[in-house]
Amino acid sequence: MQKTLFAAFLIAATPVFAADKPNRIIDGPKVVIDDPYKTGMLGYLQKEILGDPEQIALDPRVKVLAPHSAEDSFHVPITIDAREIGDVERIALFVDYGPIPHILDYYPGEAEPWLSFRFKIDQATPVRAAVQTKDGAWHLGGAAIDAAGGGCAAPAAAYASDDWEERLGKVRARMWPNSGRVRVIVDHPMDTGLADGIPVFTIQALDFKGLDGKKMARIELHEPVNEDPTFSLRFAQGALKAPMQVSGRDNNGNEIEATIPYNGAIR
């Protein structure tokens, strides 16, 4: 019953991909979507973030789950579930209102098209998930989040403590082979560059690989991802059979390297 809390918008229609319309607005996107949130921003975001795709439509199989109201604008939790769609290549997450709309891109690879993480929100806004399938088509879902705001323009909390440089790149992680879950937390300020005198300082990407180097999943992060990014991934049951490597780097060249043990936690 608590599911009613969550603001996933579900349009009861089979996705139909509209063709390029001859009379579209000048500078508008190739496909005009009847946006349930009517922010007037969607066309712009289609062009800027998705490269103005020719095949894009609302799809109720893209579920975006988030609380109606952001209790903590620095760490807004969100889950994207596109498991009802097969052959997912990429999931792009972005907001309509905020100084930096693009949150991240997820390339699930061997993982399921499902991701949980947290991000910074600057004001009340729809958050959108655009899911690209291997045929190139985009499937769009979203949720509206209310917020008191301010999450993007404030300095990271880490600077209040003395040991943030020692903690930089520290990874907490655990694998649950039975349920196919993998969780990681990477210590990093993730500075947006919007706070006075603090330049952009962000992790650019995290790669998940087998010990043999085989790529399993990739996340490309942007400034709105929260301080100390926290990700949950899901794999098919039985797919996790060995330790996993997680690696990445930030825009200052700091490397992130860790191995997620197969047994998960030492308990």
């Binding site: 608590q2 599911k3 809390l5 969550f6 789950l65 988030a66 609380p67 209790e71 903590d72 760490h75 939790p77 969100i78 889950t79 949980s116 993480f117 947290r118 008191a148 790149g169 520290k170 990874v171 907490r172 992680a173 655990r174 649950w176 349920s179 879950r181 969780r183 990681v184 937390i185 926290t230 949950s232 390297e257 860790a258 191995t259 997620i260 043990p261 936690a265 030492i266």
Partner: protein
Amino acid sequence: MTLTRRTVLATGLAATAAPRAWAKPRLEYGLKPVQVADGLWMLEGSTEYFNFENGGNIVNVAFAETDAGAVIFDSGPSRRYAEELRKVVTEMMPRGVAAVVNSHHHPDHFLGNQVFSDKPIHALEETKKQVVLHGDSYADNMYRLIGDWMRGTEPVPPNTMLTSNDLTIGGRSFSTVPLGGHTQADLMILDRATGTALTGDLAFLDRTPTTPDADLPRWRESLDYIASLDPKGIVPGHGSFDTEGRSLVQTRAYLDWLDGALTDAAEEGLDMVEAMQIEMPDEFAALGAQPHEFERSISHLFGDYEKAALPEVN
């Protein structure tokens, strides 16, 4: 003529003989004190979350009669509330208001302070510190949550620091006990004459405890301490007057359940949105402001639980 919301409302009033629900001329809390013990009254707030209908009147405020006038416990969520409170108290007690006490720094408990800034406003030092730190952002957020009810409200910190366990005003003496756990500093007051405990938000009754600044182990110790005093009556921070200690038992049970549920969720590898969907036992799902407060608690507390469940691996 430009139609503003105000002119539209005025036109609506003029056009109809009977008052209409949406055309209330003025927002009013309609505060009605209820006597709960000898010389002690309580103003019971709703057990909902803040909204435009309740105007933030979700909090309990109490006052005690002394030879010097009334001592008011917590000042309410807004200037408007506190103005009504002062009027009601002054009508009942010719000496008016002698002093105010703030139990802790949450907005519904202190945002009425500005109406009493000519009187001593007692609180713990840490409470003052937190009001100074967060008062403005609380007020901003309250404008967002209850709108016009907040008009003219400014955060005013307490002006008189409590330095001992005794507060005597106008011949009436109170034990002032510095506790914590709901926030960094929670003041519990025992009215010695009647044996009534004014717990602030350490105790809730039939309303979900809130956790934005919670330290669960410390909170549970504070509840044990209050229970050990065996108070004759309890004015909880939210919920009805309690003569059976139910508020202490219920708050404790909810905190215990919350602690266990979050531990289990983190150990199973759930993320926050999934944890927000955990099925609650009926007794907790039935509390006021659910499931909203449980969802908020996940945001406040889950980070520590997941850190405990995820070992460092590099």
